[in-house]
């Protein structure tokens, strides 16, 4: 099976280890991974700011890079959501529609397409708090959300639960938004920072050593808050744990 | 063109393509005793229950429940009280009533509500100016949930009807629960069959 890897712009720039872990994990699972070299971004920053017009060229570049692949996999719930639901500034050709449909977030892909549940090489003997980013949770519906009366399910927990040594703790507000929200983090900085502080304190008080998420954008914001607060809590992407990171 | 024509014209012009009206399922009430469900819900909403008196003397029971009450005003045949309603001409005249007494048409197990209309109040303000309200309720007349209640279609021909659920309440200041906001301070249900001997 061959997939194309899309590495979100902020992961490429600031958290390459997440892209590396994603690539290595997919390869461990027997997938051939292509990395189109001219990729940049999915267009979400412009789209979420209302500037769909400004997103058009970036979105066209995305389609060009990922055309022809059966699957496009990315370690980002929010980018996946943008591509599947809001990649609308670019012309909706047959190719555009195919690329949009082919795009998967990593947890979705491993859980639903590869149907893997065990990662024998993984060991993470730490106490973790799971953070489901709002795009992953509510838009991609990778787990039961607290608002909806539905039976419990969680794709990330399905993947993490068999990792050797891992222990989970639950914060008091497990699926309250952490306050990143893209450009919200800058243009509504007071509320964004307060939400981030509340989120990391919640996990800290629950006893988490690490906060793990499928969305590095959320973690980037939370880590920024935790570091400024002087909290010892650490942050890791789910790809890194599943790929065998020990810390 | 009147505003009415303007508004309706604008609405007709802008109405999106029609969507169908869904049928409302029966949503039968959960299993278990409707009476027990009603009692639990009533208490949860801040209402009280008093056992029907063995000797059938409701006036005496009310005097015992409200020893400081001076004026008791009843809209029922089962309780006499001391302020006859036929003397009351205007709604404000029940302003000094300590205990009002009414008989509910039926209760709702889902919520602990009782249904009353102008027929049961005789004077509507009795249900709101009284400091306390005593509600007689036939234990055989309890419906399961609000869907059942809203199917009692004839009841909604009344000019005024109300589901009362416990006493009036508010939590507007710091979320602290207060019973006795603008209306009654307490609501006490006495299970008493219609047509029971006095």
């Amino acid at each position: 099976m061959k997939v194309a890897l899309f590495v979100p712009c902020y992961v490429d720039a600031f958290f390459p280890e997440v892209g590396i872990a994603t690539l290595e994990l997919l390869e461990r699972l027997g997938v051939e991974v292509a990395y189109p070299l001219e990729q940049t971004c999915c267009g979400q920053p412009m789209g979420n700011s209302g500037c769909e017009k400004e997103a058009a060229a970036t979105e066209a570049l995305f389609v060009k890079n990922f055309a022809g692949f059966e699957y496009v996999v990315t370690p980002s719930g929010s980018c996946t959501h943008h591509v599947r639901e809001n990649l609308t500034a670019v012309r909706q050709t047959k190719q555009t529609k195919e690329v949009r449909k082919a795009t998967y977030e990593l947890v979705e892909f491993v859980h639903d397409v590869l149907k893997v549940r065990e990662f024998p090489w993984a060991e993470f003997p730490h106490t973790v708090g799971l953070h489901n980013g709002c795009a992953s949770l509510r838009a991609l519906h990778t787990a039961k959300m607290s608002e909806i009366n539905e039976p419990f399910f969680s794709k990330p927990i399905d993947l993490l639960s068999k990792v050797k040594g891992i222990r989970f703790v639950t914060p008091r507000r497990p699926d309250e938004c952490c306050g990143f929200g893209g450009t919200f983090s800058v243009f509504e900085e007071p509320v964004s920072a307060k939400m981030g502080y509340d989120k990391v304190m919640d996990h800290q008080k629950a006893g988490a050593e690490y906060i793990v998420s499928a969305d590095m954008s959320c973690l980037m914001h939370q880590r920024g808050c935790a570091e400024r607060m002087g909290l010892p809590i650490k942050f890791i992407h789910i790809a890194q744990i599943l790929n065998g990171a020990r810390a | 063109m009147s505003s009415r024509d303007d508004i309706l014209g604008q609405i007709r012009k802008n109405q999106p393509p029609p969507r169908a009206l869904p049928p409302i399922p029966a949503f039968d009430a959960p299993t278990g005793s409707m009476l027990e469900g009603f009692k639990a819900a009533l208490v949860r909403m801040g209402g009280k229950l008093a056992a029907a008196p063995a000797d059938g003397d409701l006036d005496k029971l009310i005097r015992e429940l409200f020893p400081d009450a001076r004026i008791v005003c009843s809209a029922t045949t089962e309780v006499l009280g001391n302020l006859p309603l036929d003397r009351v001409r205007s709604p404000g005249e029940v302003g000094a009533v300590d205990v009002g007494v009414v008989r509910a048409v039926y209760g709702v197990a889902e919520t602990g509500s009782v249904w009353l209309t102008e027929k049961e109040f005789k004077i509507n303000s009795l249900g709101f100016l009284s400091q306390h309200l005593v509600v007689l309720l036939d234990p055989e007349r309890i419906v399961g949930n609000l869907h059942h209640a809203y199917r009692e279609r004839a009841q909604f021909d009344a000019r005024y009807g109300v589901f009362m659920t416990g006493p009036s309440a508010t939590a507007d200041i710091e979320g602290v629960l207060i019973h006795g906001a603008q209306g009654i301070r307490t609501l006490t249900v006495i299970l008493h069959a219609t047509g029971s001997p006095k």
Binding site: F15, M145, N149, G181, G196, Y197 | -
Partner: protein, 458 residues
Amino acid sequence: MKRIDHAEASSKFIKAKDHLDFHDQRLWDLRQKRDRESEHIPEWEELRALASAIKEHTLTHLADYLEEFERKATANGAHVHWAKDAAEHNQFVFDIMCAHGAKTLVKAKSMLTDECEMRPFLENRGIDVMETDLGERIQQLDNEPPSHIVVPAVHKLRTDVARVFAQTIGTDPKNSDVHYLAESQRQHTRPYFLKADAGMTGANFAVAETGTVVVCTNEGNADLSVNLPSLYIASIGVEKIIPKIEHLGVFVRMLSRSALGSPITQLTSHFRAPRDGTEMHIILVDNGRSERLGMPDFWYSLKCIRCGACMNTCPVYRRSGGLSYGATYSGPIGVIIDPTFNLRKYSSLPFASTLNGSCTSVCPVKINIHEQIYKWRQVIAERAQLPFVKQEAMQVAGKVLANPKLYRAAVETAGAGIEHLPRFMMYNRLNAWGRQREVPAAPALTFRQWYLKNRSKQ
């Protein structure tokens, strides 16, 4: 008209720590109570779907249902008036009261009357208006608008209420016991009920089948406002119509559970016809609703039953307070309807959101709130109502991210730049990210650089 600056207002709200903590926790508590209620009803999601479908059907047949409501209400002995905007609504209320010789009005909570700014209109013409809902009364006495559509004074602590009441209704300024304050308002308001010439309510629902006005309260103030005076005026937004009495089963089951986490409000009142010897007037109000009905992306907002669940769940609302939105309707529902009242004034509101979608998931009538927020952002940008700084930044971003070479140049040098900047340059007033957060450290290699070095055969 001055643009509302939500971020600025929120900054002030956040600085008042005790108020902020209480506000956030109180509303989160209501959200949790709502969850517990919904979990006990196996058919909860089905009820949401039904409520949504009933509203969508009604709105797509609104003119017919309004005419049916008018026919039935008129046959009941009520007078029906049609107000196309706030000014007409206020004039109707005044004219009806004058015709009746009425000088004093007791009213239950009605967001519509706040939207129309009715109170100052009447007061300027010599009518005495008493808000009887405790939360609205506190706000009236404090000369402040309500901050939440269900719990209007939720942003105040008991000490604030004690101060307001001491200054206005003569309570003991040192006594902030909540029972004392509530009892004081009860005693102070009661004589007004007894002597008022007219009473007023809004409507949670208006039933076309019977011409019934349905009002849900906990305090009993609507029942007092209507059952004492000889004149009753009901103000109803045209979108409040529902087809039949049996539909109330669906809506009444969901309203208080969504709003407060209680199965039903203490009073659920059905006003169909006036008492003998009294008058009932109904004012059906448009004020932009018919126009909104014609907006393909935004007409779903008319399904709203004003439960406030979206406000309770919204993490931004809980941390900024309703007053920071500068509008009658705040929180998520406010964000999607206020731009229809004034696009420029409320252009920052759709950005006071992380698009997390919790609001959409708690809405009992399944309004796709967060999706409409996203669409409003497009409208605002298209109509050039974005702040210049943001417009510029997005134009630059759009060019850089569309060009692989420009993108790589920016990313590969940014890293190097950040490494060497002294802290005072990175963390200052101009860097919003850095005010309360650390900036991420730049890695030695970007992913692409790592890939080319370790994987690519090129």
